[in-house]
């Protein structure tokens, strides 16, 4: 059972397309599109959004048969009035507590959120993953040592580790998704070569290829587990050649 995600877009095609894209990287996560108006025009529809939220709230077990419900829903939106429609939908919900709106770029944010949800992150961590994609998307080029996405911490890390990438393709989308998804569910602030380890897009901006050494710094209760998690994945080549 994972956190579910609803996508509100002005365009049915955009909503359907981005859901299709994210579903590839998060096959077990319920991701529902609410795009366009009821009659297929450009715009947003409260009814579509409410229907998607309703479905998301009852199909979190992935089968829709047990009625256990998801552990929460994160909503991503595109342009201004999609945000307003999503906010309006929350006013109509009987129990809006488990539904969080993410202020994130739609495509990068959805992929990051879906991956975090796939990794078992809770609803707050899923929203955080989506919103972390904003900084990474805005930041120019690889590097990121000065990026706005790294956790601000002047204290020495509770745990560190250095791991060399051994797989041919290095830190591309799937490995970044695995790393970010797993870290999002841990109680730790993690940086990898200076970028937020829970941000899939942040990790991808590192442009780290085979042979690159990843320097992992972690703060918090799960710091040690976080470093071990990253180290385990990297040393296993993410299960890739």
């Amino acid at each position: 059972m994972t956190v579910s995600i609803v996508v509100v877009s002005h365009s049915e095609k955009i909503a359907d397309g981005v859901v299709e894209l994210a579903a590839q990287m998060a096959p077990d996560v319920v991701i529902l599109p609410a795009g366009g108006t009821d009659d297929g025009r450009i715009g947003t529809s409260l009814e579509k959004v409410l229907a998607a939220l309703e479905q998301a709230g009852t199909s979190g077990d992935g089968t829709g048969t047990t009625g256990m419900g998801a552990t929460g829903t994160v909503v991503l939106t595109d342009l201004g009035s999609a945000v307003m429609t999503a906010e309006s939908a929350l006013e109509f919900l009987e129990n809006p507590a488990g539904v969080l709106l993410a202020d994130a770029p739609l495509v990068e944010g959805l992929v990051a959120a879906a991956v975090a949800a796939q990794g078992g992150a809770d609803v707050h961590a899923v929203r955080k993953a989506a919103e972390a994609a904003r900084g990474a998307a805005a930041q120019p080029g690889p590097g990121g040592a000065d990026s706005g996405t790294e956790p601000v911490s002047s204290a020495a890390p509770d745990c560190t580790g250095d791991f060399e990438l051994v797989n041919q393709a290095g830190m591309h989308a799937r490995p970044a998704a695995k790393v970010a998804g797993g870290l999002a569910s841990l109680d730790a602030e993690v940086t990898i070569n200076g970028v937020d380890g829970a941000s899939m897009t942040g990790l991808m901006t590192l442009g780290a290829g085979k042979g690159t050494v990843l320097h992992v710094e972690a703060w918090g209760a799960d710091a040690e587990r976080a470093v071990e998690y990253v180290g385990g994945l990297v040393e296993a080549g993410f299960g890739e050649p």
């Binding site: 108006t37 715009g43 409260l46 307003m84 429609t85 906010e87 309006s88 006013e91 109509f92």
Partner: protein, 210 residues
């Protein structure tokens, strides 16, 4: 005199008439500084409200306004949908299950509607939006109701006149919210379509009570 559900139904019916009659005018206003869909969207939204009223008769003014909120948010499509939807929803909440609306309750419902628009759209007075029609309308309605007047028609007239003056006041403003804000200084010299449709809605409320 009190307003009741018959007034609410007539108000919504007159809103639909007004949007149909002013559809082209609203399209033209929106073409100048927006994406020219406001007239189309408002007409479609209120025609859908009309259809809903044909299916079932609401029992209270609040129920009529809540149905309108839901319908506008689902059928309008553009930003006006959630903005007017929230306005009607908050007004419905303010009215609760009351069968009759007196002057004070009316002024409070109008204020709740305006507050909903502000909360949803984050616009302030002077931004060249529907808030520039609603805020003077709410102030005028409160002044009329606070005078101890039990005359709901007087409150409605005060609100409508202030909203119409408020819409005119958007002419020289430079837009700071919505699609029109992309035009910057070039948005000055045009009337805000949302302020105009707001004034039409409040004028329809007078017609329904007269």
């Amino acid at each position: 005199m009190h307003l009741d559900v018959n007034w609410a139904v007539k108000w919504l019916t007159l809103c639909a008439q007004a949007m149909a009659e002013h559809r082209v005018e609203l399209i033209e206003l929106d073409r100048a500084i927006g994406d020219s869909d406001h007239g189309e969207n408002m007409d479609r939204g209120f025609q859908a409200v009309l259809a809903k009223l044909g299916e079932s008769t609401p029992e209270t003014p609040g129920a009529a306004l809540k149905m309108t909120a839901m319908t506008l948010m689902s059928k309008v499509g553009g930003a006006a949908g959630p903005l007017y939807g929230t306005a009607f929803l908050r007004a419905a909440t303010a009215l609760g299950d009351s069968a009759e609306i007196d002057a004070a309750a009316l002024a409070a419902a109008l204020a709740a509607a305006r507050d909903g628009i502000v909360a949803r759209g984050k616009a302030e007075s002077g931004d060249k939006t529907m808030v520039d029609a609603w805020t003077p309308a709410v102030d005028a309605a409160r002044a009329a109701a606070d005078g101890g007047s039990t005359n709901v028609l007087g409150v409605l007239v005060a609100a409508a006149e202030a909203a119409e003056a408020g819409a005119v006041s958007t002419d020289p403003m430079v837009a700071r919210k919505g699609r029109a804000s992309y035009l910057g200084e070039r948005s000055a010299g045009h009337r805000d379509p949302g302020a105009v449709s707001s004034a039409l809605i409040l004028r329809a409320a007078v017609g329904a009570a007269a």
